[in-house]
Amino acid sequence: MAATAPVSPQEETAAPLLEIKDLHVWFELRRWGFSHAGYVKAVDGVTFNLNYGESIAVVGESGCGKSSLMKTILGINKPTGGLVRFQGRDINHFTRADWHKYRAQVGYVQQDPFGALPPFMNIHQILEEPLIVHGVKDSAERDRRVRKAMEEVRLTPADDFLQKFPHMLSGGQQQRVVIARAIILEPKIIVADEPVSMLDASVRVEILKLLRGLQQSHNLAVIYVTHDLSTVRYFSERVFVMYAGNAVEKAPILGLLRQPLHPYSLALLDATSDPDAKNALTFRELPPGEPPSLVNPPAGCRFHPRCGKMIAGLCDVEKPPEYERTPGHQVSCWLYK
């Protein structure tokens, strides 16, 4: 199918909202500013579909490529290889106008709410910006939509906040403004990058519930990027575990929590604490070492140097394929051969 061919309504409903196939996002390293010095293989072969109204979580440690994946979906990074299709159309063939329309379809909630808001603009100006960029010329209409978005994130009464500057708000309120900005263009997808990791415990749940509510009431698809597995279950239906640029396990959330298959997923779960006084009495079992460099990742399974169940001659040689153990629960690990 030619990328620019019109998509029939039937195909639109049949195609997933977002389709990612064997996506590679590499960044070139340069020595002295020009000579080639290798690639940072931030995302190296990731495949998944995102359906309308679905919430998925991408879990992994810093440097696993989850941010690059997210920024590619946001159109900030360009894919090096593979396919990203939005409503059946390849984003590599997008025109300028297509990109502009696409950007209204994808909202972005960032990790650091204070940094995500320009400090020299008041809340009204901040929320108006996406509308101005997308050609809403009537200022009364903009004002109406700003107020509506603020109501949706429960920043009410709006008049108390409109003239304030970001630094006058609490962390939770700032993050609500960020969410309001992300939904003001009525997008189909929200990309939420660690939206609560910089907030206080008592506010975290509030923000997650707010996002969850918006997702359900607006039939939004949400990609929730986090390193904290304990918040995932209240929020997402499916979860991907990423390690060193690969998606090592994809599972329904309860499937992963009850029966993690990949040794890395298991390690992540083991490392996550619940408040329990018994924690202090024992040492935690953890995989040795640290995640590999993305410039020269290990051959075979990228987790093999840290894996207790490594099969010599296999894991360190050949990259494991994806095995489906139960429907919808896939794992890339030779243990399930």
Binding site: Y108, Q110, F120
Partner: protein
Amino acid sequence: MKTIKRTFAELAQYPSAVLGLVIILIFIAISIYAVIAIPYQKAVDLWRGGEKIWYKTPKMVPPAWVNLFRAEKLPDTFSLNTLDDASLKQSTPSGEGQKISISLDFDYNYDSFPQELSLYFTSTFAKKAPFVSAVWVAPDGRETRLVDYALQSPKQTFRFSQDKKLVTRLFGKLPQEALFAIPKSDPLTPLKGKYQILLQITTFEKDSSVDVEFVQYGQVYGMAGTDHQRRDLSIALLWGMPVALSFGLIAALGTSLASMVIAAFGAWFGGWIDELIQRITEVNLVLPFLPILIMIGTFYDRSIVTILTATILLSIFGGSIKGYRAIFLQVREMPYIEAARAYGAGDARIILRYLLPRIIPLLIPALVTGIPGYVFLEASLAVLGLGDPVLPTWGKIIQDAEFNGALFNGLYYWILEPAALLMITGLAFSMLGFSLDRIFNPRLRGL
């Protein structure tokens, strides 16, 4: 608007900022006054006028207010003109013409002698020239004949010191001293009191008239003193102010705005644009700034507009562009910029709405503290002989002063006046700028 109000409210807490601001406001008021009171053409004419305009002022004397600090008062400069005050003149008809008697009275209470004394005659006549005789009357009643002659031309000047007869009559002594001196005093000391110059003028035609102006060239003059061309320095001091302020402001504003915008473009687009800007800056940084300006001034044009343009062009790609770039590179990575890209803001919008506002707080203090630098630059260029050929400026006063050996001759006022104004300008802008820096950069507040 609110920000401006808040800034002023905060400024009020820094006494140095208030002082700086007050000085700047006074300077601006003086500048406006100068430009209105002495329009450009008049200022240029006055400054380039020469002896015709400046016949009433002494040569190279300090301002009148130095007497406030002296025990021995120096004689002031003044003139008495029958054109201004017709009551000095009494005429009685005599034959075809008239007999005019004029009495010019003045007090002399100084402790030294004037530089020079002159009588200026303005007359109208067809053939027969009026005859003038003048007598000097000292307070003790001694009379000295000054002159008896027929006027030769409609405008005629009698300079006391250059009249050989008068000098002979005063036994070879300088008339401006001998006429005021107590007889036989040694050294000569002036006799204080009321002096008179009595003139008897006879005209021989019906419509013939004569007017006289007496000028005493003192040893002090006006608010600012005079230079070697008898010009009143206050003209140049007054006019130098708007020139200096606007040169400084335009240069600082033009330079910082342009380098800010260029740095923003470079930092945002990166790649070859950034490289190009960087290389231009580096090349520009090693180019000798002053010699280039001197070359432009010597071979092309010395007008202030040319020099200003050259200054801005040469300063745009200066060190500040590197500083701005470093800040922009940091701001570029802020999450809110990423958010703006994600909702589709274009490059121009990101630069203008998101990058530049971040640097305004740094720009304003830098701008204000940068102004004196350009004011000094303009003055330095003038001292080097590259001042605007027509405009009176502070730098040119210093240049003239230096050229005429002001310091060797003890004419300190000539250099100190423009230097003090330059210094006060620098001080005012610095005081304001440093306080603004503290207000806009809260990190410095604790200091």
